[in-house]
C-alpha cells in the first residue's frame, strides 16, 4: 500500500511543442493511501495514459512518479508491486482458475503452501471457490474479470489496484454486483484503488474522490457532491449530470447581470467577487432551475421546445436568449406544452459563475 504522487507530463511524440502534442499536460496529483479514486473523462482525455504511468507500463516523458516519497519513475510494474485490471478480461487460457490465481505468486517463487492458502482466501472473497478447478477459458466475461482482479489481489502487499474500464464487457445486470464487490474489497482490504472510466455513474458510485479529465488535463478533483454542486470548470458541469449543466452567456454591469435582453440582480454575497468580472458564463444544473411566474424578478423568459416525462420528473427543454436550457421540474407542476412561454429562475445559491471556463463565484 502506498501514497502515490505524480508530478509529470507525458507526450507520445518525441518533440512536444504545443499543448495538443501532450497526452497529459503537466500536472501534480496525490493519491492518498487507501483511497478509492476514479479517473473520469471522455475517450482520449489521457486517463488511461495516467493509469499506465502509475502502473509503470509507461514512463512519463517528463517528471516523476513517487510511491511513499520513493521515486519509482523508472521501475517496472512488478517492482512497484501494482495490480491492474484491464478493459477486456485477461486470463491465461490454458490454465485452470486456481492456476491463474496462483500465477503471480508462482512467478515470485513463493512457497507452495502459502500460495495455496492465499489463493483459497482470494477465491473465497471473490466467490470463485466453486470454480477453482475449471479451465478459465470457458468461463463468462464477468467471472474472467473476477479472475483478473483476483490475480491482482493474491499478492497481499500490492501498492495499489488499478482498473482500466473493467466493466465494459460485463452484462449490465452483473455490473452492479461486481461494482459492489469492488466496494466491499476496498472496505475490507483498505487498498488504494484507482478506477478509470468514462461512465459517470460508475465513477460517482465507486470513488470517494473523482478526478475529471479532459484533453490531457485534470480539471477537478473532488467528491461526487462537489463535482455536482460546485463544478470548478465548465467541462465538469457539462460532463457530470444527465443532462449536464446549462450555460448562459452573461455580462456583469455594476450590480446587475445582463443575460440576453433581461437584467437580473447578482446574488447577494457574491456581487462583490463578480462586480469586476465583465463577460461571464452562468452555469446552472437542470435540477436547480425553477419554474416561476412572469412577474418574479430574476426570472428569464423561455420558449418551450420539448417536454419529456422522465418518470419522477418532467424534463423541460426551452430556449433562453438563443441558448437551450433544460429544467427538471417536479411532477406535481402542470407541465407546459411545446411553444408555451415559461419563466425560469436561474439565479440562486447553486448558480455557478465562470470566466474562461473556470469557476469564479
Amino acid at each position: 500500500m502506498a501514497r502515490i504522487e505524480l508530478d509529470l507530463a507525458h507526450s507520445y511524440k518525441s518533440v512536444a511543442a504545443r499543448d495538443e502534442d501532450y497526452a497529459l499536460l503537466p500536472l501534480k496529483m496525490t493519491f492518498e493511501d487507501g483511497g478509492a479514486y476514479a479517473l473520469l473523462g471522455p475517450s482520449g482525455c489521457g486517463k488511461t495514459t495516467m493509469l499506465n504511468i502509475i502502473s509503470g507500463l509507461l514512463v512519463p516523458s517528463q517528471g516523476k512518479v513517487s510511491f511513499d516519497g520513493r521515486d519509482v519513475t523508472h521501475q517496472t510494474p512488478q517492482e512497484r508491486n501494482i495490480a491492474q485490471v484491464f478493459q477486456f478480461p485477461v486470463i491465461y487460457d490454458t490454465m485452470s482458475v486456481v492456476e491463474n490465481l496462483a500465477f503471480p505468486l508462482r512467478n515470485r517463487r513463493i512457497p507452495e503452501a502459502q500460495i495455496q492458502r492465499r489463493v483459497r482466501e482470494v477465491a473465497e472473497m471473490l466467490e470463485l471457490s466453486g470454480q477453482l478447478e475449471q479451465r478459465a477459458a470457458g468461463l463468462s466475461a464477468d467471472v474472467k474479470q473476477k479472475i483478473s482482479l483476483g490475480r491482482g489481489l493474491v499478492r497481499n502487499d500490492v501498492s495499489a489496484v488499478l482498473f482500466d474500464e473493467p466493466l465494459t464487457v460485463i452484462d449490465p445486470h452483473l455490473k452492479w454486483q461486481l461494482r459492489r464487490k469492488l466496494k466491499q474489497i476496498h472496505h475490507e482490504l483498505k487498498l488504494t484503488l484507482i478506477y478509470v472510466t468514462h461512465d459517470q455513474v460508475e465513477a460517482l458510485t465507486f470513488a470517494d474522490q473523482v478526478i475529471v479529465m479532459t484533453q490531457g488535463k485534470a480539471v477537478q478533483t473532488g467528491t461526487p457532491d462537489q463535482l455536482f454542486e460546485r463544478p470548478q470548470h465548465t467541462f465538469v458541469g457539462h460532463f457530470i449530470g444527465s443532462p449536464g449543466m446549462n450555460f448562459l452567456d452573461a455580462q456583469v454591469v455594476g450590480e446587475q447581470l445582463k443575460i440576453g435582453d433581461s437584467t437580473l440582480s447578482l446574488p447577494a454575497g457574491r456581487a462583490q467577487t463578480l462586480s469586476s468580472a465583465g463577460r461571464t458564463t452562468v452555469g446552472i444544473r437542470p435540477e436547480f432551475v425553477r419554474l416561476s411566474d412572469s412577474h418574479d424578478s430574476g426570472a428569464l423568459r423561455a420558449t418551450v421546445s420539448l417536454v419529456k416525462d422522465i418518470g419522477t420528473h418532467w424534463m423541460i427543454s426551452a430556449t433562453v436568449a438563443d441558448r437551450l436550457v433544460r429544467a427538471r421540474v417536479a411532477p406535481d407542476v402542470r407541465a407546459p406544452r411545446v411553444g408555451d412561454t415559461v419563466w425560469f429562475t436561474v439565479i440562486g445559491p447553486h448558480t455557478c459563475f465562470y470566466k474562461d471556463d473556470r469557476l469564479i463565484a
Binding site: S55, Q78, N107, R108
Partner: protein
C-alpha cells in the same frame, strides 16, 4: 418439432453439381481405372481389388511411403519452430515490419519448378554459391551423388521455400494478441518464457493448426522441387510418393495400379490430416473450449 421441408434439398443442388463435376466425377474415373485391367481400349477386364492388393505389397511403395512420412515430419519439425521463432523476432510495426514482410513473402511467390532450378544451380559445387562454399570449406558435398546430401538439400529447399508461410501466419496470430495480455503478464511478473508458454503459444493455436495442416499436406504431396533438383535420386533416395505415382502412371503407363495407389494416397492424407487436426484440438483446448 420444427417443420421439415424436403424442398430445401433443391437449394444445395447447384453445389452438389459443381462438386460432382470438379471432384467426384474425376475421382470416379480413377476409381474406374483402379478396378479394371485395361489392355486396350476394346479389351478391359474387371479385376476387383487386385490392383490394390498388388500395390499394397509393393516394397518400392513401402519405402517411398516411409521416406515420405519421415520427410513430412522433418518439414514440420523444422519449419514450425523456425516459423514461430521468425515471427517472434519480427518487428511489430513501422517500415521495418513492412520490409520484413515483403522479403518473407518473396519465396512464396516463386513457382515450384523455379525453386527447384534455383537450388539445382545454388547447390552446384562449381558455380553454385551454396555448393561452392561447402566445397571450399572442405566438405565433400554433392546432392546428385550422396543420398544424405540430396535429402538435406531437398529439406533445406522446402524450408527455404515454405518457412515464410508459417512465419507469416504466426506473425498475423501474434499481432492479434491484445496488448493487455502482455501488460498483465508484466504485472504478474511473468518471464519471457512464461509469456511465450502461457500467452503467445495458446493464442497461436488456431494459426498453428492451419500452418501445420497446410505444410503437412503440401509436403506430403511434394513433387516438382525434388523432381527438378534430384529427379528422385540418387537411386531412389528422394523418390517421394507423388513421384513414385507419376513413374507408375505416366512412365510405365500402369494405369490400374497407379489409380489404385492414387486412392490409397488420398486416403492416407485424409486420415493423417484428420488425426493431426484432432490431436491439435485436444492438446490446445480440451472440450471446454467449445463454449467460446
Amino acid at each position: 418439432m420444427k417443420p421439415i421441408n424436403q424442398n430445401a434439398w433443391l437449394l444445395i443442388l447447384p453445389v452438389v453439381l459443381c462438386v460432382a463435376f470438379s471432384a467426384i466425377l474425376p475421382l470416379m474415373t480413377v476409381v474406374n481405372y483402379s478396378v479394371q485391367d485395361i489392355i486396350s481400349p476394346e479389351r478391359r477386364v474387371f479385376v476387383g481389388t487386385e490392383w490394390f492388393k498388388m500395390v499394397m505389397r509393393d516394397p518400392e511403395l513401402h519405402e517411398a511411403l516411409l521416406r515420405q512420412i519421415v520427410f513430412s515430419l522433418a518439414v514440420l519439425l523444422v519449419e514450425v519452430p523456425l516459423g514461430i521463432a521468425l515471427a517472434l523476432s519480427m518487428p511489430a510495426s513501422g517500415w521495418k515490419a513492412s520490409a520484413v514482410l515483403v522479403i518473407l513473402a518473396m519465396s512464396l511467390l516463386i513457382p515450384w519448378n523455379v525453386v527447384g532450378t534455383i537450388w539445382q544451380i545454388f547447390g552446384r559445387t562449381d558455380i553454385g554459391l551454396f555448393g561452392a562454399a561447402l566445397a571450399k570449406l572442405g566438405i565433400n558435398y554433392s546432392y546428385t551423388g550422396y543420398a544424405t546430401d540430396a535429402w538435406a538439400t531437398v529439406l533445406l529447399m522446402d524450408v527455404w521455400h515454405w518457412t515464410s508461410l508459417v512465419a507469416l501466419l504466426c506473425y498475423a496470430g501474434l499481432r492479434a494478441i491484445p496488448d493487455a495480455y502482455y501488460q498483465a503478464a508484466r504485472i504478474d511478473g511473468a518471464s519471457k518464457l512464461a509469456v511465450f508458454r502461457y500467452i503467445q503459444l495458446p493464442k497461436l493455436r488456431g494459426v498453428l493448426m492451419i500452418a501445420v495442416l497446410l505444410r503437412f499436406m503440401d509436403s506430403f504431396m511434394i513433387y516438382t522441387e525434388p523432381f527438378v533438383l534430384t529427379g528422385g535420386g540418387p537411386g531412389n533416395s528422394t523418390t517421394f510418393l507423388s513421384q513414385y505415382l507419376t513413374q507408375k502412371a505416366v512412365g510405365q503407363f500402369d494405369v490400374g495400379p497407379a489409380a489404385a495407389f492414387s486412392l490409397i494416397y488420398f486416403l492416407i492424407i485424409l486420415l493423417l490430416c484428420f488425426i493431426l487436426y484432432n490431436w491439435m484440438q485436444r492438446v490446445g483446448g480440451g472440450p471446454e473450449r467449445a463454449h467460446e
